[in-house]
Amino acid sequence: MRDLVSSLLTPRGIATALILLVLAALPLLTQAFDQRYLLSIGTRIVIWSIAAVSLNMILGYGGLVSFGHAMFFGIGGYAVGILSAEGISSGWIQWPVAVLAATAWAAVIGALSLRTRGLYFIMITLAFAQLVYYVGSGLEAYGGDDGLNISRSRFPGLIDLRDKASFYWLCLALLCASLWFCGRYANSRFGLVIRGAKSNELRMTALGFPVFRYRLAAFTIAGALGGLSGVLLANEGAYISPAMMSWMKSGDLIVIVVLGGMGTLCGPLYGTIAFFVLEEALPPILNLAHKGWGEYWMIVFGPLLVLIALYARGGIDSLLGRRHD
């Protein structure tokens, strides 16, 4: 308990507590100020944070640059969407099926991809993601390229996902659970093997660790959590489309993790918030400076990311002072 108090009284602890407080109160705030569309952005921030937390488990802690993580958005989303289109609307069936599908797929492609290193790993994960993408856009029965409107998962008697605030709070609860798990994971025996292998794979092997098995397990866990974020994303928009798993989304996820601070617990959360806020705020600000400039917001966004990558090597998290772990 004393640990908890002392860790809350650091800049990082205060920042995180404030963010979580604002996030928890967001539905009330958006209602009070009658800015309901902000709740939709907030929901997407929370869902993307879960995906970023899952990517951080392999990219940040494990040094495994997976350039296809958005495919788990797609697998989770399409599992929900296809079941819904086939008349199975119960979330009790949809969600476990979706997460299991993502888990199984992650295990299969992990087993293949993790035999490669460096650039090859980046390329092979991208290739698998593209494969899933084209399968998705080839599914004419489920909307093909145009995507498909779906009805939200039903949890009768428990929660109505059509209620935006309830859905938001559910996503937030899942984000908190993900952060809790990731915090335990990072300092567990398992997490230390993953982090050690990032630092020096050969050394870890010589210490008796079958590194491949541990990495495969980590990749599979990350895939499962990524799949869950896909389930949420499909329910958020009541819509699935191949665009949710395009390589650009995978790239965005990497940017978010790097921006927030790789291998830090709350980095993915900071990164997602910064990413979405910049994406929403830059166009109007630029339009204010000169009408029409808002369209070119990426010209500002890109160099900003480069600057952060160059000068804040630990991402946003490093701006909050040294870590003590």
């Binding site: 398992f190 050690g196 630092s199």
Partner: protein, 250 residues
């Protein structure tokens, strides 16, 4: 005579036209230090890689602790009791000295598929790690990042990590490399004290260290073991003098 702990039978490894390991048969008995010497390019590293399982021999066999380990992967050999230190210092630079050794202890403490308990406060890992650090003389530096340790200290850390899990055989790849005279002397004393518990295969360029420590020496030249015997026999061997030791022996 006691059964050798490690024994190779006619190991051969070719890289294209180059015969890097040419029918090498050596053994290490419990409680002894067997040194492997030879000029650069003699194939010492290739031999070490075969012993540790980094590369597979083209023919021949490796027996360790009574088992044929020729086809076993590295991590399985480590589990059987083959500890090693690296020629080029290989520690986890982003981890503290204590965390490095604690991970080494963890490597011998069963599987690591444990996701929730905090391993950084696990006395079952940290206690033995602290003792190993003290044993190699790094007790005071436990909380220092490995990247901030001096070169000599990193070599000591390597050995503490190799000692975790109480290996039956230590494979030391140039442990004195880059060490000053004083540091080397301290390490020599330390290794001598260790040999009762851990047999060693020592690959080393520092001839002083080799002749002070080794019970037996094998000389490798162009992939072949040209001589094997006690330090006195090796010193007196004309082939060895000609092929390798030259002036250094005088």
């Amino acid at each position: 005579m006691t059964e050798p702990l490690l024994r190779t039978e006619g190991l051969v490894k070719r890289y294209g036209g180059l015969l890097a390991t040419d029918n090498v048969s050596i053994d290490v008995r419990p409680g002894e230090i067997h040194a492997l010497i030879g000029p650069n390019g003699a194939g010492k590293t290739t031999l070490v890689h075969q012993l540790t399982g980094v590369v597979a021999p083209d023919s021949g066999a490796i027996h360790f602790a009574g088992r044929d380990v020729t086809r076993l992967p590295t991590h399985a050999r480590v589990r059987l009791g083959l500890g090693r230190s690296f020629q080029i210092t290989s520690v986890l630079r982003e981890f503290t000295a204590l965390e490095n050794v604690a991970l080494a202890v963890q490597g011998h403490a069963g599987h690591s598929f444990r996701f929730l308990a905090d391993a950084r406060r696990d006395e079952g890992l940290r206690g033995p790690a602290r003792r190993l650090l003290e044993e190699v003389g790094l007790g005071e530096r436990a909380g220092t990042l490995a990247s901030s340790l001096s070169h000599g200290e990193q070599r000591q850390l390597e050995i503490a990590m190799a000692l975790a899990g109480d290996p039956r055989l230590l494979l030391l790849d140039e442990p004195m490399a880059g060490m000053g005279v004083e540091e080397s002397q301290r390490l020599i004393g330390f290794l001598r004290a260790l040999k009762q518990k851990h047999a060693m295969l020592l690959i080393e360029h520092d001839m002083d260290a080799v002749f002070q420590l080794a019970d037996r020496i094998t000389v490798l030249v162009y992939g072949r073991a040209i001589a094997s015997g006690t330090p006195d026999q090796i010193r007196a061997n004309p082939d060895v003098r000609q092929a390798y030791l030259g002036e250094e022996m005088a």
